[in-house]
Symmetry: C2
Subunit: 323 residues, 2 copies
C-alpha cells in the first residue's frame, strides 16, 4: 500500500484496525450474481448492493467509522442526502447530536429519513450559498461542533474500504465498476485493493453532466464544476473530487466512464426488471457504464457496485415507466 | 414430525435428504432486520426475502427439488407466473424441456421471463378453461410428459421447507407470517418448524378477496373459490389449498389473516420506502397482515416472509404513487 501526502495516517496498520473494528457495526454487502444481466451484456456480472446497508447506502460505513473516532458530541454535516442519513443514524447509535445541511432540491424521502433518525435538517438554496459555506456559518455558531467531511478524509476512505474488503475477499473479479461523486467510495475501493495486493481494476462511473473527475483524470489535475451539476444522479452532484480522493484516484483508478443520464435510467430499470433490485439513480451508474461500453467489458468478471437505494417513490415511478 | 395421510413419503428421513441435497442449488434467503418498520409497527420485524432467489421467488426451491427427482424429460406446469419461471429455469439447469400454462392476465414480465429461460408459454382464458383442465389436455397430447404440481405434492412442500430451515436455524422468532395461496409455502414452513421441533407460530396472510383458506380453517373443511379470485396478489389467485397442504395447515397453522388489497399495496410501498425492497403484491401480504393487526403482533419477534419480487414495471409504478 502506498502512502499519501494528504493523509499520512492512511497506512497499513490503520486500515487493519478499521477492518477489525468496523465490520461488527455494518452489514456485509449483498453480492448477487446476475445470470440475466450477464447474458444481456456479454460479461459475468455480480452486483454488490449497499441498498440494504444501514440507512440504505454505503455512506454508513464512512459515517460510523469517522464519528466513532472523534471526541465531539455535536456533529455538522453537508450532504445531498445519503451521508446525512448515515451521519444522523451513526450519531443516534453513538449518543451524539447532529445538524445536516441539505440542498432544498434533495429527495423528500432523504430529508424525512434524516429527521426520523433524530438529525436536524438545515435546507439551503445552493444557488445562493454553497454547502461548505453554510457549514462554516454553523461552525461559527457552534464552535464545539465537529464538521464531518463526506469524502475528503482518511477515516471516511478507510470506512468505505471495508466494502472493498467484502467484495475482494470472496470473489475474483477482473473489474470493479463504482459510482464516482466526491471520490470517497472509489478511493476506498482502491485502498482495499492495494491493501490486499490484488490486481483487480477499479473503473469509475460518473454522470456525464457532472464529469469533473473524468476531466481531471484526462488533464492530470483536479478540475472543479462551476456549479453543482444538474444530473439525475443526485448523489454525484459534487463540485469536485476531494484532495485526498484525487490523490488516490489519479494513481489507482483505471479509468472513469461518463454515463449519460438516460443510460443511468436504463440501468435503474434493468436492475428493477432483471434483478428485483430497487436502486437510486446514483446507484445505477456502474451498470450504466457497462451498458454504455459493453465491448470494453466483454467476457470479463465484473462487479457493479450499487452505492445506495434511497429514492423518492414519485421519482422512481416516473423513471420506471418513461421508456 | 407428524405423518400425513396424503403423503406418507413426507417423513423425517426425506426432509433430511432434501435439506442435505437442495441447498447447494438454491440461494439462501436474505434476512433483513428492519429497525424502521419495527418502530412503526411496535414489534421486531425481520424480513425473509426470496426476491433474490433464482427466478425471483421461493418457487425455485420447490421446482428444482421436484424436477430433479422425476425421470421425465418433458414437463408441463400450470402457473400464474412464478412457478412457471421456476420450472422453466430448473428445466434448463436439468436439461429438460417444459410447457407452462398461464392465464392471459398474467404479468407480462412473468410471461417474458418464462420464455427467456427457454420455457414454452401456453396462454389461456381462465373464464373459458381452468388451468388444471388445460394441463390435462396437454398431457393427452404429450403422454410422456410429467405434470408438475405447484403446491399439492410432498416434494414441493419439502423443497419449500428449506426456506423454513434458513429462517429457523439462524434466528429465534415468535411468529413467522407467510403468504398463503395454494398453501405450498406455508405448509413447507410448518414441516420445517416441526422437523426442528421449534415452537414458532406460523401465521398465514391471505388476500381478503380470495379468502378460501381462512374460510376453510374456520369451517374445518377445505373450501374452494368458485372462480380464480380477482386480487392484486396474483400469486394467490388459487381456487383452493391443495389436499396435502390443507392437511398440514389445519393442524399446524396458528391462524390466517385476511388482508384487503389496499393494505397489501400499503405494505408494498412500505417495503419500498423503508426497506429499499422491491416486492411483488403477493410478496407484500405478510407485512400487510402485520399492518392490519398491529396489536396482535405487538412486542413480538416477527419474521415477514416475502415470497417473491416479480412484478410489471407499469403495475409497480402505478401502485407506488396511488396513495
Amino acid at each position: 500500500m502506498q502512502t499519501y501526502a494528504h493523509a499520512p495516517q492512511l497506512n497499513e496498520s490503520y486500515v487493519n484496525y478499521v477492518w477489525e473494528t468496523l465490520p461488527r457495526h455494518v452489514r456485509p454487502t449483498l453480492l448477487l450474481p446476475s445470470p440475466t444481466l450477464s447474458a444481456q451484456l456479454g460479461c459475468e456480472i455480480t452486483i454488490a448492493s449497499e441498498t440494504f446497508q444501514h440507512t440504505g447506502s454505503f455512506k454508513f460505513r464512512a459515517a460510523y467509522n469517522l464519528l466513532a473516532s472523534v471526541p465531539q458530541q455535536h456533529i455538522v454535516a453537508a450532504s445531498s442526502g445519503n451521508f446525512g442519513q448515515a451521519v444522523a443514524y451513526a450519531c443516534r447509535l453513538l449518543g451524539k447530536t447532529c445538524m445536516v445541511v441539505m440542498p432544498n432540491t434533495s429527495a423528500q424521502v432523504k430529508v424525512v429519513a434524516v429527521q426520523s433518525y433524530g438529525g436536524q435538517v438545515d435546507l439551503i438554496d445552493v444557488r445562493a450559498i454553497s454547502r461548505a459555506e453554510r457549514v462554516q456559518q454553523l461552525l461559527k455558531e457552534h464552535p464545539d461542533a465537529f464538521a464531518a467531511p463526506a469524502y475528503d478524509d482518511y477515516r471516511v476512505v478507510a470506512g468505505n474500504s471495508t466494502l472493498g474488503k467484502d467484495i475482494l475477499s470472496t470473489h475474483n473479479f477482473d473489474v470493479i465498476v463504482v459510482p464516482v461523486g466526491g471520490g470517497g467510495l472509489s478511493s476506498g475501493l482502491i485502498i482495499a485493493r492495494d491493501h490486499l495486493q490484488a490486481s483487480t481494476e477499479i473503473v469509475g462511473a460518473e454522470p456525464l453532466p457532472g464529469n469533473d473527475a473524468a476531466r481531471s483524470l484526462r488533464s492530470g489535475q483536479l478540475i472543479r464544476n462551476e456549479h453543482e451539476p444538474a444530473t439525475i444522479a443526485d448523489g454525484a452532484r459534487t463540485l469536485s473530487l476531494g484532495q485526498l480522493n484525487w490523490e488516490i484516484l489519479r494513481q489507482g483508478i483505471r479509468d472513469i466512464i461518463e454515463v449519460p443520464d438516460e443510460t443511468t435510467v436504463e440501468a435503474l430499470r434493468r436492475y428493477f426488471i432483471y434483478a428485483n433490485l430497487k436502486v437510486e439513480p446514483t446507484g445505477a451508474l456502474a451498470l450504466g457504464a457497462v451498458i454504455s461500453q459493453p465491448e470494453r467489458f466483454r467476457d470479463k468478471r465484473i462487479c457493479c457496485v450499487v452505492s445506495g437505494g434511497n429514492v423518492d417513490p414519485a421519482v422512481y415511478a416516473q423513471v420506471l415507466v418513461e421508456a
